[in-house]
Amino acid sequence: MAERLSLEGLVLASGETELVHGIDLAVERGEVAALVGNSGGGKSLSLLAWLDLLPPGVRRLAGTIRLDGTVLEGPGLAGLRGGVVGLVPQSPTSCLNPLVTIGRHFCETLACSGRAARAEAAGRLAEVGFATPERLLGLYPCQLSGGMLQRVVIALALCRDPDFLFADEATTDLDLESQAQVLVLLERLRDRRGIGILLVTHDLAVVARLADTASVLQHGRIVERRPVADLFASPRAAATRALLAAHHALYEGGTAA
């Protein structure tokens, strides 16, 4: 099992505009690292660049990806997603084919079919909190609510038992109960299986609940990286303080803007 996956000196650009200005990120086995920051700050693109999945229009100008000290390039990088890193992208609908049933999605990811695949898929769906997972297998994505889809995507990301999980706003569309369930699941994956989790979230309560460390990304730069307890107790960067002020206002009332 891999111990550490890192990204060093990442620079991203679109046309003449530099979007991400040389950031470092890492996830370690058995740890939850949160990535927070302002909308458009570069969180999703950094995650995608790490897995060599950049969308059209964005180029990686610099950046080294290392798995336990080995620099990954070309095919090594291409092989990262799946068995080594499970990805839960920001928009769950974008990674599901509307014409294919949930069961088929599992068959394709697991590269097997029949009864064994169905049993495996049902087990994985039960893990993310579905009480009657068998019923889901015959359904199409449009027949599920946003929160149900989100959990299906998490189950898919986990089904090849990756060492690391990258989750981009994985609990955003979930109601508080399902969110709590997913967080318990992630916690268990970290504590029992030692999975390293990179959690992109806008919700600082999720960070407070689950993350060990947090990096704050603002306009393509990491402005602060601290253990979560320290970050909440004594935020240093202005961006961190602004986020925390808005977060506390959600609980205490008053205005944050």
Partner: protein
């Protein structure tokens, strides 16, 4: 004055694939009204039917039973589609901004679309789109870039700008700000509240996040067993609405819980 009224609406969907006969009842004689200029929140867990109710209010789907009235008249005539004026008066912002916008449109086109339908063109169109994009704090970006090449939160804000473009009378906000970072989220909610104060637009605010209701909603309802139920104070320490009690119990802590030193 009541603007939107859902009267005893029921809706069920087929489950288990297109050929299955098994149906699930999502809404069960649900009733809800939204007054002119009022912000009514609809809270509830995932899959409780909140979005279904929102789609009925938008006329995107029809109820199996019951009726949906806008300004006291049925939303969709029994024979035809919605009248254009009614259609224009109701706008929406959904959970998934990528699904709600065409991948072929630029940011400019996303916001301009409803204005074009309303006959706005030329310099006036450009100016109105520019000021709407600035209002959602995207004044710095290139409006010619394809909408799907924006970040999730940026695209969501373009959808908010689009929904505000024609100063609707009813805005259905279905998890519209849930995916925004907390700082911009607070500013977008302030922007929406200002729109409501200025134009008298009513909101149906659909969310699972209890924390967002404070200071935003005039009235709160919770979806339980396929029906919205009125709650007086969603923040009261105890609730006799089981769904609300469960949502409250699942609320996350405000700060990290310090690990207790093992002895």
């Amino acid at each position: 004055m009541t603007l939107l009224e859902l009267r005893d609406v029921s809706k069920s969907y087929r489950q288990g694939g297109p050929f299955s006969r098994q149906r699930v009842r999502v809404l069960d004689e649900a009733s809800l009204s939204v007054g002119a200029g009022e912000c009514v929140a609809l809270l509830g867990p995932t899959g409780a039917g909140k979005s279904t109710l929102g789609r009925l209010a938008l006329g995107l789907e029809r109820p199996d039973a019951g009726e949906v009235l806008f300004d006291g008249a049925p939303l969709a005539g029994a024979r035809g589609p919605m009248a254009a004026a009614v259609r224009r008066g109701i706008q929406a912002v959904f959970q998934d901004p990528y699904g709600a916008t065409s991948p072929r449109f630029s940011a400019f086109e996303v916001v301009a679309e409803p204005l074009r339908y309303a006959g706005v063109a030329g310099a006036e169109l450009r100016e109105r789109v520019r000021s709407l994009i600035a209002a959602v704090e995207l004044g710095e970006v290139d409006p010619g870039r394809l909408a799907h090449r924006f970040s999730g939160g940026q695209l969501q804000r373009l959808c908010i700008a689009r929904a505000m473009a024609l100063e609707p009378r009813l805005l259905v906000l279905d998890e519209a700000v849930s995916a925004l970072d907390v700082a911009i989220q607070a500013r977008m909610m302030a922007l929406l509240t200002a729109l409501r104060r200025r134009t008298g637009c009513a909101f149906l605010f659909i969310t699972h996040d209890l924390r967002l209701l404070r200071g935003f909603a005039d009235r709160v309802t919770v979806m339980q067993d396929g029906r919205p139920i009125a709650v007086d104070d969603p923040f009261a320490p105890v609730s006799d609405v089981p769904v609300l009690a469960r949502l409250r119990a699942a609320m996350l802590p405000q700060r990290p819980v310090m690990p207790v030193a093992a002895d």
